[in-house]
Amino acid sequence: MWESFLGLYNYWIVILLMMAGFYIVMSRHNLVKKLIGLNIFQSSVFLFYISVGKVADGTAPIIEKGIFSYSNPLPHVLILTAIVVGVATTSLGLALVVRLKEAYGTIEEDEINEMDAAD
């Protein structure tokens, strides 16, 4: 029981974080907050990949004398790329938010929708 709790705990936290991010994106009207929710969602996926790559008793994948067990380096490589791409998309999203603020004077999604409906 305890063993399977420890074996699955990382996945459960990943699911919790992913759902928290998803909830923030859906339920909050503030666009900056939505972007932070997206970031939480994204980092939960990173955590999942890295958790999958971990090997018990393994070390960081840097070749060294006398060490024979390394964690899986492939998820690390994939996630390194994903982190940088994530920042690029975040910056683009924030630029859009700034433009929306200039055009509508607000960054609340429901107010923007109301203005669009009134036009």
């Binding site: 699955l8 936290i13 970031n39 899986n72 390194l80 630029a95």
Partner: protein, 211 residues
């Protein structure tokens, strides 16, 4: 000991996510998001992903926080309270159901447990990369000319094209940001003289020049 640290750090992440959902002051939320990134980086160190931890601490906790702070400077500091509290009930029900379904799938006996060396993810490619790097390094006599870090060698060789694609994405995002925010002249031309935009136009174009 490491297991206990892992448990505690991941629990902290969950608490932070909850706080980020609750708090309306966007400056506080941004700072919490920075702490969240830093904690994620610490977890990555525990999970043997030192390169990822490096990048997350520099890019996730550093650059992203700066980007959010500059966006806050140009927009609002405070999220408005929700008018209709019941409106977030639907999303809550949805994420609870979806989360329960996902947790249920992890209970499948075929789901590899954390740290399982026999998990299918460790099957074919990773041992190849490790063996290649060991061959280059020469197993017991590391030289200065060869790189012992498997992540670095894989990133530069096997996934070289992928890294090129990453650079293209960053370039595209940079061009996009420049088109959206760059140049006041372009923006003035685009702005049509509707009354509500006149009212906010003067202040925001002044701030835009400062960015």
């Amino acid at each position: 000991m490491i297991t206990a640290t892992n448990l505690a750090l991941l629990a902290f992440l969950a608490v932070l996510a909850w706080a980020i959902a609750r708090i309306r002051n966007l400056f506080v939320v941004t700072m919490l998001a920075g702490i969240y990134s830093l904690l994620t980086a610490t977890v990555f160190v525990l999970l043997d992903a030192v390169d990822v931890a490096f990048t997350e601490a520099a890019v996730g906790a550093g650059i992203t926080t700066v980007l959010f702070l500059s966006a806050l400077l140009l927009t609002d500091r405070e999220a408005k309270p929700r008018k209709n509290r019941l409106a977030s009930l639907g999303p809550m029900v949805l994420v609870v159901l979806l989360g329960a379904a996902l947790v249920y799938t992890t209970l499948d006996p075929r789901m590899p447990h954390y740290g399982d060396a026999k998990a299918p993810a460790h099957g074919r490619l990773a041992p190849e990369f490790l063996a290649d790097t060991v061959k280059q390094v020469g197993a017991d006599k590391p030289t200065a000319t060869h790189i012992p870090n498997v992540v670095t060698t894989t990133l530069a060789s096997y996934r070289g094209f992928d890294t090129l694609g990453e650079v293209v994405v960053i370039f595209t995002a940079g061009v996009g940001v420049l088109i959206l925010l760059g140049g006041n002249a372009t923006r003035r031309r685009r702005r049509n003289p509707a009354p509500r935009e006149e009212s906010s136009g003067a202040g925001s174009s002044g701030k835009g020049a400062g960015a």
